[in-house]
Amino acid sequence: MTALDMQFKESASRHALAGSNVVARVEGIRKTYYMGSLAVEVLHGISLDFYSGDYVSIMGPSGCGKSTLMNILGCLDQPTEGKYYLGDEDTSTMEDDELSTIRGARLGFIFQSYNLIQQLNVLENIEMPLFYQGYAEVESHEIAMSLAERVGLGDRVDHKPFELSGGQQQRVAIARALAVDPLIILADEPTGNLDSKSGSEILDLFDELHAQGKTLLTVTHSDELAERSMREIKLRDGEIESDERLNS
């Protein structure tokens, strides 16, 4: 925890949220979808702070806007209204290219359906975020190799995704999310497609990442995940219903 705090402070000297250990802040986020003439507001003004090294689970009934919020936090989607600070930057004023860069450099994504590229092998999938960040080949190879070993797939690096089980694919995705050493790891229902055993293995891995001081943001329907997390946020109809710190 201390090592990461130091790293965080070092990189966050110009931080908008300087002085605190807040890595991401949303202020009054609204999201409206337009379907023809019909406007549907899905998020009704959400404000939240996320802290460095935290392990957050966002829960709520289907359709309450969890994924919508996650996509905004992941800079994959823009809010209709409101501000989003990530690290030392205000993302609401960013151009598409800057958003691409910030996604690649600051965020790690874990999806319910893994989202690996089928034509690429395990190693190449893990390397992809490094590639777009301009890492040298040798270095990105080294990083990807050590991450593959880290998630227990050191002997499968030249396998294609379809040759792996769901749990193994999700571990590749986790390694890929860790590749650029992001500020936040975002996981939308990471165990949603997995049986309980491989789901638990993924959660074990999350616990380890948390123990190492990574910041984890998850959306889940799994009680097991919620129980293992440090902070549980409940959404209902696009609003925060509850936000509590779990004692563990």
């Binding site: 994959l76 290219d97 690649g104 590639f131 777009y132 990083i143 991450l147 050493d181 380890e208």
Partner: protein, 453 residues
């Protein structure tokens, strides 16, 4: 999860080891994205092959088709060019009624009189300005002998300018001279075929051949090329002679006379023809067609029946050129349509591939790819596929006409414009149709692309 716990935790990396994210035009990034594009081509083997194949077929078909049509029109025009563009050809033709009459007659065979006369030629020469020369010929079918060997051929009695006027070349020796024409000399120039038939071993130059009861001294041999069937088909005999030999006009007249006997199905038949053929040379090509019309009028006035034929090679050449242009426009249109169809095929494959790969685009965007990284990747793919296809297509398009020429004996001409045009159009289609769908996909919000199934 014992394998996880034994692993040493990954140390958080400092920013120092990280290169600055690359912005703007950057060769390293471009090179890397090119590699992604190439890799992607190989990982979608079948689709890449189909795309390349589509372009190859389109380009090769266009080039080959244009080469064949160009060759055909060249061949057609060459036939007329061989006759001489500043010449007008006149031939004596036995009119249909005359043939009828002679068949029905029961009495002793009467000589049939028809055809061009020396008086016709004199009139033409004297009344039409711009006629620079007239080469009159008499053509008689004869058996020619070298000792025991004989062959049947057309004996052409003509003047010294004959070979020049028809663009014929001598293979050996010389053509007969003005003096020999004046002296009714018994000299002969053989065609290649006749020379080979009569003198299989010896050099014929300086030897003698026998026609009827007279001996003729061989002074030259013609090249076999340049004898176009068009020039000799109707003259002298009903079947086109396989070859000809040439003697002075004066010698023909005094040795064979104007009335010749001919073996026909109904017995012997005799006919009197003053001139079988005349080549009228005109000064300058511009007036050839006009002069041709005037000659036709003169002959119409002078002959009761149409016992002559007039041929203006230049007019035929113009017609051939016109129809060649028409053919080429048609061929070009067909070629264009085939390229377009090929292009639509390519677009279809590219469009399908981008739709299929929208999710990949979404993933790459989530992992930090910029719009232009995506477009570059797809552009590289499209450029490589259409480039490779275009090059193979050009090679095939040049080779196919050669094969057609060798195996079917057709003249084919690949003009440089055809490969250039076919290649650039196909490359353009490949790149535009390749890049357009990827631009659309890259323009999507990453969320939207990721949701794509």
């Amino acid at each position: 999860m014992s394998d996880l716990t034994v692993d040493t935790p990954v140390q958080p990396r400092s920013n120092a080891g990280r290169q600055k994210p690359l912005n703007g035009v950057n060769l390293v990034r471009f090179k890397k994205i090119t590699q992604v594009g190439i890799k992607s081509i190989f990982s979608h083997g079948l689709r890449s092959m189909l795309t390349v194949l589509g372009i190859v077929i389109g380009v090769a078909a266009v080039i080959a088709m244009l080469a064949v049509s160009e060759g055909a029109s060249y061949e057609a025009q060459q036939q007329f060019r061989d006759l001489g563009a500043s010449n007008i050809l006149l031939k004596s033709v036995k009119p249909a009624e005359v043939e009828e009459n002679s068949r029905q007659g029961f009495g002793p065979p009467q000589a049939v009189v028809y055809g061009l006369t020396n008086a016709d030629i004199t009139t033409i020469r004297d009344t039409i300005p711009g006629v620079s020369n007239v080469i009159s010929s008499r053509i008689v079918k004869k058996n020619v002998w070298n000792l025991g060997i004989n062959t049947n051929t057309d004996v052409v009695g003509t003047t010294v300018d004959y070979p020049v006027s028809r663009n014929y070349n001598l293979r050996a020796g010389r053509f007969f001279s003005q003096a020999e024409v004046r002296d009714h000399a018994n000299v002969v120039v053989l065609s290649d075929e006749v020379a080979n038939a009569l003198f299989p071993i010896d050099n014929p130059i300086g030897q003698s051949i026998k026609i009827d009861s007279d001996y003729y001294n061989v002074v030259g041999i013609m090249e076999s090329e340049g004898f176009s069937n068009l020039g000799q088909s109707q003259a002298g005999s009903s079947n086109a002679a396989p070859s000809r030999i040439f003697i002075p006009f004066t010698a023909s007249k005094s040795r064979f006379g104007e009335t010749t006997m001919r073996q026909t199905a109904g017995g012997m038949e005799s006919e009197t023809v003053e001139l079988h053929e005349a080549i009228i040379q005109i000064e300058g090509q511009e007036s050839v067609i006009e002069v041709g019309e005037i000659i036709e009028q003169i002959l119409q006035r002078r002959h009761k029946e149409v016992d002559y034929e007039i041929e203006v090679p230049l007019a035929l050449l113009r017609q051939a050129e016109e129809s060649a242009l028409r053919d080429q426009i048609v061929a070009g249109a067909i070629a264009g349509i085939s390229l377009l169809v090929g292009g639509i095929g390519i677009m279809n494959i590219m469009l399908a591939s981008v739709t299929e790969r929208t999710r990949e685009i979404g993933i790459r965007r989530a992992m930090g790819a910029k719009k232009r990284d995506i477009i570059t990747q797809f552009l590289v793919e499209a450029v490589i596929l259409s480039g490779v296809g275009g090059v193979i297509g050009v090679v095939l398009g040049v080779v196919i006409p050669i094969i057609i020429s060798i195996f079917w004996g057709m003249t084919t001409i690949v003009t440089p414009i055809a490969p250039i045009l076919a290649f650039s159009i196909s490359a353009m289609i490949g790149v535009i149709f390749g890049i357009y769908p990827s631009m659309r996909a890259a323009d999507m919000d990453p969320v939207e692309a990721l949701r794509h199934e």
